[in-house]
């Protein structure tokens, strides 16, 4: 009774005291708009009703507005630590640093779902806003399909995982977010990853719209390409960031673990990469049409599958959200409708597509076909390996099996290596029919260089597995071939530099983009190989004053100090690194204890150089033998070339960006005046 009086006062108080409910209401409005958008425009496209088609534009904007309001409301609740919101109670704490309060907004299942939906609507609105070169009917259909996905996710959120569930009276303080997740890299990781994951939704919508319309042609491929590129770039960045996070936060120095959750983000990437290339063939040669459509559907289906796996508790994973079979069933229903529906539509419509341009076995088309087939095979291997434990359990009635990194390394790498070889040749091939002897002639020198480079490494390094050297040779091959192709295009060294410069600036940006991305993959491969094959590791008990030598460095352990952070305290080790008696740097690895969440994390300290990382992490001895009294466990790794992984990834993303900025992708966009002249010709 006293309580009601108080809440009355609160409601009449400051505005932000009702934000959680405003957020909830905004989600309901977004759902209402999504429902309208999923019906009106597509009907409009069928009846050629301009008003109905036009409504897609504004309802897409409305959706993004309301979901943003909801997202900001949730963020506000996290920032102010409003513990009347259940989601805040479960994932935040008043002592948490502000950055992680903000990041907490998408740290939980509910919040991340809201972010998912936000990005979904952002892509819809982006098509409504920037897609002025897309025919009205196709745009209307695409936006309707996008709204179907919106409806699916909004209802999923509102009916099974509402981020605005309330608690009253509020508990005195919140449980903390898993400290492992309190990290800058990880705070930014989901948004980027989701941008990629969810970005493919619009490509999916385009594909379904095209199937409904029964029209796929060069123009369609060109309209879809920028969206595919944008999603692919984000996903690439997201995966790279996640792997970087694992590398320095988990304290093991590894960057890829073939965990199911990693795999499910990797599969859309592989498929998306195939789609990117297959769409080029559709655009240039009007070929591979049903294949491109299928890839578009499969890429987003794999994204959805990822969401399903992470949120249903189907597979065990380090990263999975809380297990809830009810949610799992709901997403499975969503999957059945979206994937099943789109594939059924595909099965019905695809055979009606006209066959495209013809080509010879040695041609750019054939090269891209090889790319597609290998990427699809690789995706299949990862998919099968990831889900096999489930299949096995179902078939044997409860027996369990693990499919771990040894399987994936053995099955995935051999499948992918031929792709690297093909990537070297592909760009040299011309459309329709290529001049094989000519290409071989140009690549002879590249092959020689790759062999020489590998031999040089073999001479310098102290052994290593054959597969490592083979991969290295292919990485050299890819890098040199890519550079060779670029210099050939701009005729570098064949005339004055000024001519080459002019040619380079005349070259379409997408050509530069491809070169940068392909070279990026080669660079990343150097990183993968270096940090896998020539990694060295020391694990030991050390007393203050101890000296360790690793990878040519001398490391001195100076002792440990207790330090305090905002919501943790830490044992901080002090290490001095020198080489040949010359001081280089100090390293401060930490072992943090978070009292509220009752858990501990390791914060490694890294000395990063292009040649490799010196990576140190610390923990206190678990055993209390007299011999090790006062000693600390130190783990020091030397990871050669590991930074090439992130540099290569950045090159991939930048390459995508260059391609995206190519003016050809905007052809047909009304240039104000042109729009008037491009009026429907009166036949």
């Amino acid at each position: 009774m006293v309580r009601t009086a108080q809440s009355g006062e609160f409601i009449e108080g400051v505005d932000d005291q009702m934000t959680p409910e405003v957020g909830h209401f905004a989600l309901a409005l977004a759902l209402a708009l999504a429902l309208v958008q999923s019906v009106l425009p597509i009907l409009g496209a069928k009846r050629r009703n301009i008003l109905w088609m036009q409504s897609a534009r504004w309802s897409a904007f409305g959706q993004v507005l309301f979901v943003t309001v909801a997202f900001l409301a949730l963020m506000q609740a996290f920032i102010t630590s409003d513990f009347t919101v259940k989601n805040v109670v479960e994932n935040s704490n008043s002592l948490k640093p502000m950055l992680y309060k903000v990041a907490g907004t998408w740290g939980s299942h509910e919040g991340s779902l809201l972010l998912w939906t936000l990005i979904l609507t952002v892509f819809g609105a982006a098509v409504a806003l920037f897609g002025s070169n897309i025919p009205q009917a196709l745009k209307a259909r695409t936006l309707s399909v996008q709204a179907w996905i919106s409806v699916g996710f909004l209802t999923f959120m509102l009916f099974t995982s509402n981020p605005f569930d309330r608690v009253f009276p509020p508990p005195s303080d919140g449980q903390d977010l898993n400290p492992l997740l309190q990290d800058v890299g990880l705070a930014m990781h989901p948004p980027l990853l989701y941008f990629g994951y969810v970005g493919f939704s619009i490509v999916f919508s385009f594909a379904v719209a095209a199937l409904i319309e029964g029209r796929v042609d060069a123009a369609w491929a060109r309209w879809v390409r920028p969206w595919t590129l944008a999603a692919w770039m984000s996903l690439t960045a997201g995966i790279a960031l996640g792997s970087w996070w694992a590398y320095y936060e988990l304290g093991w120095g590894g960057w890829w673990f073939w965990d199911p959750v990693e795999n499910v983000s990797f599969m859309p990437w592989l498929m998306g990469t195939a789609l990117l290339h297959s769409a080029i063939v559709t655009e240039k040669r009007d070929a591979f049409k049903s294949w491109t459509i299928l890839l578009a559907i499969l890429t987003f289906s794999l994204s959805l599958l990822g969401t399903f796996v992470v949120r249903s508790g189907l597979l065990t994973s380090v990263h999975a959200f809380a297990v809830d079979p009810e949610r799992g069933l709901y997403i499975l229903g969503l999957l059945a409708v979206s994937i099943g529906g789109s594939l059924a539509l595909f099965a019905w419509r695809a055979p009606m597509m006209e066959p495209g341009g013809l080509f010879k076995p040695i041609s750019r088309e054939a090269g891209l076909l090889v790319n597609n087939l290998i990427l699809t095979t690789a995706t299949g291997v990862v998919l099968f390996g990831t889900l096999y434990p489930l299949f096995y359990e179902a078939m044997t009635g409860g027996e369990k099996l693990s499919v771990g990194p040894p399987f994936f390394n053995a099955a995935f790498i051999p499948v992918m290596l031929p792709l690297v070889f093909a990537m070297g040749c592909g760009p040299f091939l011309s459309w329709k029919r290529a001049d094989l002897p000519g290409v071989l002639q140009r690549l002879r020198f590249v092959a020689l260089l790759a062999v020489l480079g590998t031999l040089a490494v073999w001479y310098l390094a102290e052994g290593g597995p054959v597969l490592g050297y083979l991969s290295l040779m292919l990485a050299f091959w890819l890098f040199m071939a890519t550079v060779r192709e670029w210099t050939m295009r701009i005729k570098l060294f064949e005339g004055p530099v000024s001519t080459s410069w002019r040619r380079a600036s005349n070259l379409p940006r997408s050509a530069h983009g491809m070169t940068l991305a392909h070279a990026g993959l080669a660079v990343a491969m150097f990183g993968f190989i270096g940090s896998t094959v020539w990694k060295s590791e020391e694990i030991m008990f050390v007393q203050p004053g101890a000296d360790i030598s690793i990878g040519g460095f001398d490391v001195r352990f100076n002792g440990v100090e207790r330090v305090r952070g905002p919501n943790y305290f830490a044992d901080r080790g002090e290490l001095t690194v020198s080489r040949d008696g010359k001081y280089l740097t100090d390293l401060f690895p930490e072992r943090r204890t978070y009292p509220v969440a009752q858990s501990t994390t390791t914060e490694s300290a890294i000395r990063s150089t292009l040649a490799g990382d010196l990576y140190a992490s610390i923990a206190n001895p678990a055993s209390e033998d007299a011999s090790t009294q006062g000693a600390w466990t130190l783990r020091i790794l030397y990871e050669p070339l590991v930074n090439f992984i992130w540099i290569g990834s950045a090159m991939l993303v930048l390459g995508g960006g260059l391609s995206l900025s190519d003016r050809r992708l905007r052809v047909g966009a009304p240039r104000r005046k042109a729009a008037v002249t491009a009026r429907v010709p009166a036949e």
């Binding site: 609160f10 409601i11 108080g13 932000d16 005291q17 009702m18 959680p20 409910e21 405003v22 909830h24 209401f25 905004a26 309901a28 409005l29 759902l31 209402a32 708009l33 429902l35 309208v36 009846r47 050629r48 009703n49 008003l51 109905w52 409504s55 534009r57 309802s59 904007f61 409305g62 507005l65 609740a77 102010t80 630590s81 513990f83 919101v85 008043s94 070169n133 025919p135 509402n162 309330r166 009253f168 509020p170 005195s172 042609d217 060069a218 123009a219 240039k284 040669r285 009007d286 011309s430 329709k432 005349n506 070259l507 052809v667 047909g668 009304p670 729009a675 491009a678 010709p681 036949e683």
Partner: protein
């Protein structure tokens, strides 16, 4: 206030659907198919590539042929697609626009919680201070009790134990009660509180220590409801469900009037009763119906599948019947006390005070050593706080 915000948001939502209804003239221009532009650009590109020497003349011609073939197809398609654009359907748009707020309010009416305010952590300093104060006082009390050379007064330990219980620190509470339980003056209530704390500390599992405490409580006062309740819990965990059920029902039958604990007794008895197929019992059977007409069979049946609110209302009606009877028999001292208790349980403080004051008047004629005097005084003091 909050509804105002919702109304504003809904208006915006409505506008977002309704907007296409405005501006009509500009629409046709956007309808242009941009495929021709793409095809022309492809032709251009072949030309550029040829100039740059990226492709040979033969390749360029072949590519041009191909694009021209597409142009031809496109040109014929455009010629065929003569179906006129329509721009009617305004009614559907208006209807859709209305749907948006209607849907949102409909959903929110069911799922929303507009009555709960958002409270930022920074606004809760008073509450935090309160919590800190309680914790501080508890610590002080603990210090005083432990440093007391005579072991500290039992009342102090009991207060400490109850505070700990409320804070959810059941193990500490059990320790505090345990100290009093070892003293000769330990009452049945001390042991039942001890049992409760022990069981809560083990998340509902009755440990041997808890069983001992329950036994002691039962020995000292076989009618102590808490003791009986936990005895039943212990029996049920041992598997003697029937015995547990009997015990609960027997105690309910022995109650002379309505008490707040009866509800949990009935709930527990029904919960375990279903396991052994006993018919559900109803609170109405044991509620204070000394002379009032008893509840009909229908009442009982209804009461069994009531929600919390409905059950509250049901009890309320029982209480009202008691109140009505007391209007006719105003000299029933026990009746007034029972009514006062009932109101206080229902949270109606004013009514409770009125009833208790009536009892106080009647009680002034009772002998000085009447135990009801003390009870009444305490109850009144509590209500008047």
């Amino acid at each position: 206030m909050i509804w105002l915000v919702f109304a504003a948001l809904s208006t915006i939502g409505l506008l977002f659907v309704g907007l296409p209804l405005r501006r009509r003239s500009e629409m046709t221009s956007v309808m242009a198919d941009t495929t021709p532009a793409v095809l022309l650009d492809q032709l251009d590109e072949v030309k550029r590539d040829l100039e740059r020497g990226v492709i040979s003349g033969a390749e360029a011609t072949a590519a041009e042929q191909e694009i021209k073939r597409r142009i031809l197809m496109q040109s014929r398609k455009t010629a065929q697609a003569t179906k006129e654009l329509t721009s009617g359907g305004r009614f559907a748009i208006v209807l859709s626009a209305m749907f948006v707020p209607a849907f949102a309010f409909g959903y929110y009416a069911v799922m929303g919680s507009p009555e709960i305010p958002g409270i930022a952590f920074s606004e809760r300093t008073a509450e935090r201070q309160e919590t800190a104060k309680v914790a501080d006082l508890t610590n002080q009390l603990y210090d005083r009790l432990t440093t007391d050379p005579s072991g500290g007064p039992s009342e102090g330990w009991m207060l400490l134990g109850q505070t700990y219980s409320r804070m959810g620190r059941f193990a500490d509470a059990a320790e505090a009660f345990g100290i009093v339980a070892k003293r000769p003056e330990a009452t049945s209530a001390v042991f039942s509180m001890l049992a409760e704390a022990l069981i809560s500390a083990e998340q509902g599992v009755v440990t041997p220590a808890a069983v001992t405490a329950i036994e002691h409580a039962m020995e000292l006062d076989p009618s102590n409801p808490a003791a009986v309740f936990y005895k039943a819990v212990a029996l049920r965990q041992k598997g003697d469900i029937a015995q547990a059920h009997d015990l609960l029902v027997r105690r309910l039958n022995n109650a002379d009037s309505f008490y707040p604990w009866m509800e949990s007794f009935v709930a527990e008895a029904n919960r375990i009763g279903t396991e052994i197929g006993r018919a559900p019992i109803s609170l109405a059977n044991f509620a204070p119906m000394v002379n009032a007409p008893g509840p009909t069979q229908e009442d009982i049946e209804n009461a069994q599948d009531l929600t919390v609110e409905e059950r509250q209302a049901f009890i309320m009606s029982m209480v009202e019947r008691l109140a009505a009877r007391l209007q006719d028999e105003p000299d029933d001292l026990d009746g007034w006390m029972r009514l006062g208790n009932a109101y206080s349980v229902l949270g109606d403080r004013e009514q409770a005070i009125v009833a208790l004051e009536r009892a106080e008047i009647l009680l002034s004629e009772a002998p000085q050593n009447d135990p009801r005097r003390q009870t009444l005084k305490e109850a009144l003091a509590r209500m008047r706080q």
